[in-house]
């Protein structure tokens, strides 16, 4: 599953790191005991699940502040527990719904970007300029 996730993420040009835990995020003054945190430059969010078919992370949006936090981080780390990886978007969604009853799930597969001017790709429009997936062993 992890290999497939990395392969698909590479196809979309998104970086993936396999790590034991997300403690290194503390170096950015982020509180990793929370479900999400951000300062202007760096933020992180813990995903409920991931889909390998598209290298997407599923995060629950429990409140408006959380959504804003995701959108305002320049670089957003998204941690996905290895055991929550599923093949399809549907399977990942149903797992996320099992784990959390929130009514709004956001699938994130890449940075905020546009190619609206002459098909030239520019990253960082109304959301993060860079997304990095962190596949973790922790449960």
């Amino acid at each position: 599953m992890t290999e497939k996730f990395i392969e698909t993420a590479n196809l979309s040009g998104v970086g993936v790191k396999i790590i034991r835990n997300i403690d290194f995020l503390k170096d950015f003054a982020l509180n990793t005991s929370l479900g999400y945190d951000s300062n202007k430059d760096v933020g992180f969010i813990k995903a409920l699940s991931g889909a390998t078919e598209s290298a997407s992370a599923v995060v629950n949006i429990s409140n408006r502040e959380k959504l804003k936090s995701i959108l305002t981080s320049k670089t957003l780390y998204i941690s996905i527990e290895k055991t929550t990886l599923r093949s399809s978007l549907s399977e990942a969604y149903f797992l996320a719904k099992q784990r959390c009853q929130d009514e709004y799930m956001l699938f994130i597969s890449g940075e905020s970007k546009t190619a609206d001017i002459e098909k030239t790709l520019v990253s960082g429009v109304q959301g993060p300029e860079k997304i990095i997936f962190l596949i973790t062993e922790m449960s």
């Binding site: 196809l11 699938f107 905020s112």
Partner: protein, 674 residues
């Protein structure tokens, strides 16, 4: 229309922008096609859409009940007026003076922005492309790339003017500027308006996006979603299938950066408008119900040679542009369907890329028949093609006047009027080719009008070839044109009459060879559609037939030993899927074969299209010739007399005598020394 076509064709900024967009799209798409099974996806999307269109009423009722049970206000708008009135009621009740918008395609259908402005409510588009076209008081010209028609230079000019800015011609700098301007607006309102890509009947909304603006729009106190009733699907699995394939087919992306999936958006209040606007009516129309399979990916626009030549400012209805724009405009009851539908060349590039296998080209032909627009002379000419005796008489009379081609070099007006300024037409035969007597055989040759009128040498080459190979072929003495010219010009009743006569000519043969793939495709596909007679086992392109035959024989070939290339005729490649075998055959024989860039792109002939839309036709053939020149070819081989006429005629005007254009059958005869 004609003058405008010329202006768009000569707009170099537009040409550059569209070329870049098309090139980038297909590069990305081809990479993904190697990883994902696009054909399987297309079948699945078609099945999902067809099933849900059949269950329209049930789905809508179910969804209404679910959403209302959650306490949302839901409206079903039968048309634009009702939808606008719902918007007005909500916004005026809530005292909203400004709204931010995203996923605006459906709101464009009801022209929401103009309505809001008239009612002193400011709409602000937040997708960068939508914002640019709104700012420039234009309309979006592509489903997924609204500002595709705008060059960076044009954008820079008006940004600097409008905002008194001093930006440089740097796309990153321009995007940063735009996003900051858009970003200011999110905090200036408490209301977001958006559309959705799919909604399940149990009320789960799916929205795909890349920029992150949608999440900002959703993050308001009041949310209003407007969605066409064609977007309702039965299950989450079906919705995921759609949002998974949509970006792959639309932009060559594995997936969009964001997919919002919610049963309740953030914010305090949620209003839903389900828009019918003729959808339930079209769902009951046989054949046209397939229009509702569209998932609005815009791939057909990127593939269309006409759209990528003139763009979506010209090739559009009220809301939608390009090939699918013709179908959706028909659904919208657009007033000028005759002009819009006749912009299609019939090349089927749209069919090939459609996400849900909508037979776009066939439906456009149906629309042409409903809104037929031919002048009396053209109509008379096409109608009289069902009387081949008359046509033969015309050939004999015209021959002395056009022995060396139809050029009109002394008559500028006529030359311009008949599209002879960019392309001459060949000499008219002394006699119709099909009067040549041959012995009876179970294999027939249907030469077609182009060979009978212009290219008897190609027909004679086929006879020489078949004699050489000891294959008895009977030349069919035609009673009529096959009907293709009539059908593609909207004269369907005449096409059927001509087809009825032709069927009698064809009945006795086990195998029918065609020198013109347009005729072959007509007999194979459209006769089946007209009469339910399946000719597919009997119809074969002549070149394909010989190439297949020669696979198992040991003949000596003498290659031309020149740099040569092969152009794919639309009806042979996309219509009958027989072009690649011919190209492979040539490649195998000729060491100096040079593959043609955009070999499948239409050359712009399409019969009378090259006269009625000469500027577009000219642009298309020029691009074909640029590619031929790039291939360094001395010989262009193709399998369609129409393509030969267009390419060699354009080369003739350019005085380029170094490149010859030949029919594959003639080439085959030559390399066999027949």
């Amino acid at each position: 229309m004609k003058k405008t076509e010329e202006v768009f064709c000569n707009d170099q900024f537009l040409q550059n922008a569209l070329n870049r967009a098309q090139k980038s799209y297909f590069e990305k798409r081809r990479k993904l096609e190697k990883v994902f099974d696009f054909e399987k996806f297309k079948n699945e999307i078609r099945d999902i859409k067809e099933k849900n269109v059949k269950n329209f009423e049930e789905n809508i009722l179910f969804l209404l009940n679910v959403l209302r049970s959650r306490g949302f206000e839901v409206f079903v708008a039968k048309d634009s007026d009702e939808a606008l009135s719902f918007f007005y009621n909500i916004l005026s009740k809530k005292g909203v003076k400004k709204v931010v918008k995203s996923k605006s395609l459906t709101t464009e259908e009801i022209d929401l922005n103009s309505f809001l402005e008239k009612n002193h409510i400011t709409p602000v588009e937040t997708d960068l492309g939508e914002w640019l076209v709104q700012l420039n008081k234009e309309k979006a010209t592509h489903m997924t790339a609204p500002a595709i028609h705008m060059s960076k230079e044009k954008i820079l000019d008006f940004l600097n003017q409008k905002f008194n800015a001093n930006l440089k011609l740097d796309i990153k700098e321009m995007v940063d500027f735009c996003k900051n301007e858009i970003n200011k607006e999110f905090d200036n309102t408490n209301c977001g308006i958006f559309g959705a890509n799919a909604v399940t009947k149990d009320g789960t909304f799916f929205i795909v996006s890349n920029e992150g603006n949608i999440q900002h729009v959703l993050n308001h106190d009041i949310n209003i979603c407007i969605v066409g009733i064609d977007k309702i699907v039965e299950s989450v699995d079906e919705a995921f299938k759609i949002v998974s394939f949509l970006p792959k087919n639309a932009t060559g992306q594995v997936i969009t950066s964001w997919i919002d999936v919610f049963t309740r958006p953030p914010g305090d209040e949620f209003f839903v408008i389900l828009l019918d606007n003729n959808r339930s009516k079209i769902a009951k129309e046989e054949k046209f119900d397939k229009i509702l399979n569209c998932i609005k990916c815009g791939a057909c626009q990127m593939a269309c040679p006409v759209y990528t030549t003139v763009g979506g400012q010209l090739f559009r209805g009220e809301t939608y542009a390009g090939p699918i724009g013709i179908l959706l405009s028909y659904m919208e009851n657009y007033n000028f369907m005759n002009e819009l539908s006749f912009l299609c060349t019939g090349c089927m590039a749209c069919d090939e890329v459609c996400s849900s296998r909508i037979p776009i080209q066939s439906l456009i032909l149906e629309i042409k028949a409903k809104y037929e627009r031919n002048n009396i002379i053209k109509k008379f000419a096409i109608k009289s093609m069902r009387n081949y005796r008359l046509l033969r008489a015309f050939i004999s009379i015209a021959n002395p006047y056009f022995k060396s081609g139809i050029k009109m070099r002394k008559f500028k007006f006529l030359r311009d009027e008949f599209g002879l300024s960019f392309r001459t037409l060949p000499a008219i035969n002394k006699d119709s080719f099909d009067i040549i007597k041959t012995k009876s055989s179970k294999i027939g040759l249907f030469a077609g009008c182009s060979t009978n009128i212009f290219y008897d040498e190609v027909g004679k080459d086929l006879i020489r070839l078949s004699n050489f190979l000891n294959i008895d072929i009977e030349i069919i003495n035609q009673s009529s044109c096959c009907g293709a010219a009539a059908l593609y010009n909207g004269l369907k009743a005449d096409a059927i009459l001509q087809a009825q006569k032709t069927i009698k000519d064809l009945e006795k043969f086990d195998k029918i060879l065609f020198l013109d793939p347009h005729c072959a495709h007509m007999v194979q596909r459209d006769y089946n559609e007209f009469f339910g007679i399946d000719f597919s086992d009997r119809v074969v392109d002549a070149g394909f037939y010989f190439a297949e035959f020669l696979k198992n024989c040991k003949y000596k070939f003498i290659p031309l030993n020149k740099v040569l290339t092969y152009h794919y005729p639309c009806h042979l490649s996309r219509g009958m899927n027989q072009a690649s075998l011919i190209e492979d055959f040539i490649k195998e024989k000729e060491e100096r074969f040079s593959e043609l860039d955009e070999k499948e792109r239409c050359c712009g002939f399409a019969g009378t299209y090259s006269i009625m839309h000469k500027h577009i036709s000219n642009k298309l053939v020029q691009r074909k010739i640029e590619n031929i020149i790039k291939s360094n070819s001395e010989v262009v081989i193709t399998s369609c007399p129409g393509c030969i006429m267009q390419i060699s005629g354009a080369l003739d005007v350019m005085n380029d005598r170094n490149i010859s254009v030949v029919h594959f059958v003639s080439y085959l005869k030559n390399i066999l020394g027949a």
